[in-house]
Amino acid sequence: MSRTTAHPRRAVAAASLCLAGILTVTACSAPGGGTSDEPASTAGGSTDTADWTCGTEDVTLSAYVETGFPLAGKLFDEFSKQYPNVKFDVREDQFAVLTQNAPRVLADNPPDLMRLPQVSELAKDGLLYDLDDAATALGWDEWPASQLEQMRVDADGRRGNGPLYAQGLNYSMTGIFYNKELAAQIGMTTPPETLAELDEWMQKAKDAGITPMAQFNGGATGGLAFPLQGLMASYGDPGMINAWTFQQPGASIDTESNLKAAEHLQKWVEAGYFADDVNALDYSMMMSRFIDGKSLFIFNGDWESGNLDTQMPGKVGFFLVPPSQAGGKVGAMSAPLTYGISAKAEHPQCAAFFLDWIATNDEARTIAVEVGGSHPMGPSDAFMPEVDGDSVTAQTLAAGATIAKDNGSMEFIANATGAIYAKSWTPNLQKLVDGGQDAKGLLEAVQKDYESEIGG
């Protein structure tokens, strides 16, 4: 201390010299550019099935997966059993960490398989392996197109068309889970068939002192986006919502039918159908309240089916958000459990072969259903394992068939851009709860943020 104060001028001179030195070292080149924008090489461009295998030599696939979900690990084990020359080097992290790390990991430390967040920006930046040739070689082209469209990205980063950049381990389905015992207390024995009926049951539950819906909406995860999108599909066309989420030109979230949906949600908020601390609830609190029998409904996805079948066997029902008019079409958020291959991966063919195996091998499909709780990828007539008819898993799988029939599958509106969920949907939905925002304002604000993000 005394030394530096004794010679302040000398200290300042030394510091500025030091800083200047560092600046000259670092400031010469613009940041980035280590990876090029050019599309990655495509595995020798082969569409021959024989090129897309793991061969007979020893191979170690590096995988970067989401922690807390045993599906990937179980699939790795089974694959190694069937193909003993293949081993997996697995790294695990929480999904939020994967989301932050994705660009850097794909660029610097390229994994053969990685659980991915929304792919459009990663594909646009040339970080993901183009799987079009694999799709042709392995016959993915013959699967229902809707399964893969969320993972197709064109040169402008718009999803829905263009080369395929990822594949799913299975695809999930969202809707409303209900507690059968609480439902019986208010006289609900079959799921509601219209939105009006759903409203009635929620009112009855509230009158009976039961929380109708302990949906999560706290922190940076605005869980009211689940019911909102369900309502959007009941009032409007899921295709229009997908156009927005896939960043198609001219698409808007601020439409007439979406406004009706948002107003319906606002009505639920004002009627007090959500828990009164909805803005402080996180996902795990929602789950524990539902499992403890403190909430009649929750909006959630079939990734919880297996868990609920274990924790509350026979006590949980599932239905899709009912249509606004009886007999109308329904929609649901449905998304593949996305896995991609780095553009610089060491063993892309083997990794693609593994992804194909998950969708086509009977053992793997059984694991996808029993461990993952969701419908496997692949052709619609492929093998399906038998499930207990009374289980939630059976109900969510059946709902999946309905969605396929109505062509009602939608990508989650929160995945439209990298930051739209945390920075726009969440704060605006939280404001809707505390009265600082109305339905119209919500859609306008989100549309504005969306435009500034994809435009800027």
Binding site: G33, N217, Q437
Partner: protein
């Protein structure tokens, strides 16, 4: 210079031999100083290298990035001051800075005032076992990781948490709510967590300052007829001025740089009511992937911290 003479005893070996000139001595001295300088430099270099690599270089890079539009991976484009201009137009960013300034009240002023109060109280019975116990209890939050503190307080402040249970118990059921889930109470609730953590540090620092006050001052004051309050304002408070300065500086920096407590308890919600710059930089950098924009906010924010903290340093410096 003292003249050395070889007298008859011839015993003055301490004196330099006559042959050693003044110049040679100076050279030897310089050599020694230089050698010492090299040793000192050798000792400093490892630390300085780390400091340069992990503090100065990132700092310089952040400044550089703030002039670019960059997604963190692909090539960047130079945009000049555009990122800074956009900062001033974003109500969200300005709101986050406002929130950080408001947090100073809870993270800094409250713990410093309470710290003064408790330290002055504990000082009175400094040697008793009660003083030891209360010192330990109040300091304990410092030992707990902020993440753990955040999680614990999230439970305490939940709608069915202990805080609300206590309020119901004393007949205040009407004011209960999910403290962290209400836009009007979330920021103060986060502030309570910060105050709880910082109180122990302030108390201990101030107590240490108070123990070095000369007891005769208090004696003199008492002879002059001063009461406890007068004693506090006339002797205790001026004597711990420097400690207060340290407390205020450290806690204000903690308030402005708050991240962990907010991230764990509210993640900036509900409706951005607890969004702070640290969190906003993180969201911009890792979710929006606007590294340039995030860097610009970081630079502005660093300037803001210095602008707040430097005057305090000046104010509390001893002349």
């Amino acid at each position: 210079m003292q003249m050395r003479t070889t007298d008859t005893t011839g015993r003055r070996e301490v004196a330099a031999p006559a042959s050693t000139s003044h110049e040679a001595r100076r050279r030897a001295l310089r050599a020694r100083r230089l050698r010492r300088g090299w040793v000192a430099l050798g000792l400093v270099v490892p630390a300085a290298a780390f400091y340069a690599a992990f503090v100065l270089r990132p700092l310089a890079l952040t400044v550089q990035y703030s002039f670019y539009k960059w997604n963190g991976v692909t090539a960047s484009t130079f945009v000049g001051l555009d990122n800074y201009r956009r900062l001033t137009q974003s109500s969200e960013t300005l709101g986050s800075i406002g929130n950080a300034l408001q947090l100073i009240i809870y993270f800094s002023f409250v713990p410093v005032l309470l710290g003064l109060l408790t330290a002055a109280t504990i000082r009175k019975f400094a040697t008793s076992r009660l003083a030891l116990a209360s010192r330990t209890v109040l300091f304990l939050p410092q030992v707990i990781p902020l993440v753990a503190a955040g999680i614990m307080w999230t439970w305490l402040l939940a709608s069915d948490g202990l805080v609300n249970e206590l309020l119901r118990g004393i007949g205040l059921g009407g004011v209960t709510r999910a403290w962290l889930g209400d836009t009007s109470t979330a920021l103060p609730a986060v502030g309570v967590i910060g105050a709880w953590v910082a109180l122990g540090l302030c108390m201990l620092l101030l107590l240490a300052g108070m123990t070095k006050i000369d007891p005769s001052l208090y004696e003199a004051a008492r002879i002059d007829g001063a009461g406890a309050v007068r004693e506090f304002f006339a002797i205790t408070l001026p004597s711990v001025r420097q400690e207060i300065g340290v407390c205020v500086t450290v806690t204000i920096i903690a308030a402005l740089a708050a991240f962990d407590i907010v991230y764990i308890s509210t993640q900036g919600g509900p409706a951005n009511s607890t969004l702070v710059p640290g969190l906003e930089i993180y969201y911009l950098g890792f979710f929006s992937r606007q590294v340039g924009q995030a860097s610009a906010l970081a630079v502005v924010f660093m300037a803001l911290v210095l602008a707040v903290v430097l005057p305090i340093q000046r104010l509390t410096r001893e002349d």
